[in-house]
Symmetry: C2
């Protein structure tokens, strides 16, 4: 089942059920007007929405043509946005880039940060930038949207709490990070609003490419019209979504609609390219002594999507442009 | 105007308008069934709720007796919980306690962290604790609840975005902090669910004791029935709520209902006591070479409130007990 959120009339938009081809939709209806409402009441909402999804496939419900530019993020605002950093290659490269050591517990204790979740960007929303000197970067990620998840959930119990999967562009201001982390409280101003893919899909849509809490497909990032990278999102995700959920719930519970990110997808194989510019700049530094790729500038574009074996875009395409704010 | 949230029927509870004596209430009604709904539509909601508040005072609307134990947090779940650390004395003492230096930019660049906001505790909710070794501590704070606040808001423009004020107990697991901060991503597991006061009140309720973005009253913390501290919340709040808002909005915008905390209220004058045990333990270490006060244990209680000049409890009383989870 593929879900999306049309903009308006309210702040949380209108929940729609989307045809598997991503070209047509039908509104979810008044009982679950928004994705948050459906997640709050998932046991009842899920079967009803699946019926609509099936009717859409069968052509027994009226379908409307889908204009992706009318879509907001699946959750235009969420109660939590918790972002991991589960790809070891990314951590090692990005820390090198800022002259920092990877933490000693790199492979045993997941890195996660709490991001802002009150204002999220839709898949085609511009990225507003006040100052190019802040070093704007994209970060292509895969995400899980959780149902209610209690404190003390183990990795073995975690799968049942994953309601939906989607993609994110975790926009980052690289040049604000060193001073911010030096203060000891983690990221804040260096992490502006995050953008999400047009569609959030149930894990069963992925069949056996969602396994062990990882999505075993390549995540494609296209920067200014050229492929920046298409790393495999599966094998090098050191901590799976299940592991991350076990970590998160050590000391607290989560409400339905919490979004959990994987961190920047990254492969050790350089042929797979990058999912953020910081990695490319570090590779340039290792090879040539200094970075040559600048960070993003006003007018730059970034597209992020994930194709299945048949070449279909599973989550739709994040497609954003940087604009002067 | 004094607002609160009764538990149920939904996750976000039921918005009530509370008599200034805190003893009686009337439901806000179906147009704004929850505080989030009112904040989303504040220009219309505020005058209507003020009329109800006035009617409650005049006795022209039916009042119901208020049982504080039936109250949830004013926002049972919020889209963001952003917590500052605006009292310099607290930063200096707590960093000493963990052998860390205060940041170089202590007095020029505010410290804020992004907290979890999807599961918040009501004023009389138990504090669930899985392991006493984690070093549970309370932190008494004052908070502002914001309306929509755009990117680039200056300190001079900030006041208009403050809708309500309340108190918080920013529960902290001290012994999880050092390893967590060593990873470089800030607090996460060390900050479990935060609790909020029974009432959120409009700034005008405070008259001239809310000025320059600070609340000029004492915040009383009572630990296991004994006064732990009653520091002045005003003069030593180095960064005011206005300053904090200017900092937050450097790179992004905030949706209505964002909660902004002051950080642990703390005075250099030792006679004013403490608003958290970490400070007391540091003072013991400075005086006697080692801390003698343990962190909170199962069965311990903490109460937090703020009295006005007439001795009335402005926000009601946070009153929690630690229980084994």
């Amino acid at each position: 089942m593929k879900l999306g959120t049309l903009r308006g009339p309210g702040r949380d938009g209108t929940l729609i059920v989307v045809h598997e081809d991503g070209q047509a939709y039908t509104p979810a209806g008044a009982t679950w007007p928004t994705l948050q409402a459906a997640l709050d009441d998932w046991e009842r909402a899920e079967p009803a929405l699946r019926k609509l999804s099936e009717a859409l496939k069968q052509g027994t419900v009226q379908a409307q043509p889908l204009d992706v530019s009318k879509l907001h993020a699946p959750l235009p605002r969420a109660y939590e946005w918790v972002d991991g950093s589960a790809y070891i290659n990314h951590i090692v490269l990005v820390r090198k880039a800022r002259g920092a050591e990877p933490p000693e517990t790199l492979r045993t204790d997941p890195l996660v940060y709490q991001g802002g979740s009150g204002v999220l960007l839709g898949p085609t929303d511009d990225i507003p930038l006040r100052d190019e000197q802040w070093g704007l970067d994209f970060e292509a990620e895969v995400c899980a949207i959780l149902g209610d998840t209690p404190m003390g959930t183990t990795a073995l119990e975690a799968e049942r709490h994953i309601r939906l999967l989607c993609l994110a562009n975790d926009v980052t201001l690289r040049n604000l990070i060193p001073n911010e982390l030096a203060k000891g409280f983690g990221f804040f101003c260096s992490k502006p609003a995050t953008a999400f893919s047009p569609f959030a899909i149930t894990p069963d849509e992925l069949g056996d490419v969602f396994k062990d809490g990882r999505i075993h497909l390549r995540l494609r990032s296209t920067y200014n019209g050229e492929l920046a990278g298409d790393p495999e999102a599966g094998p090098e995700m050191h901590f799976s979504f299940f592991d991350l959920i076990a970590h998160l719930t050590k000391t607290r519970s989560y409400t339905a609609g919490t979004i959990l990110g994987s961190g920047t997808v990254s492969n050790a194989d350089r042929a797979r390219g990058v999912s953020c510019l910081a990695e490319r700049r570090m590779i340039e530094t290792l090879d040539d002594g200094k970075p040559t790729t600048p960070f993003m500038r006003v007018g730059d574009t970034i597209a992020i999507e994930m194709l299945d074996a048949a070449g279909r875009s599973l989550f739709g395409r994040i497609e954003q442009k940087v604009v002067k704010a």
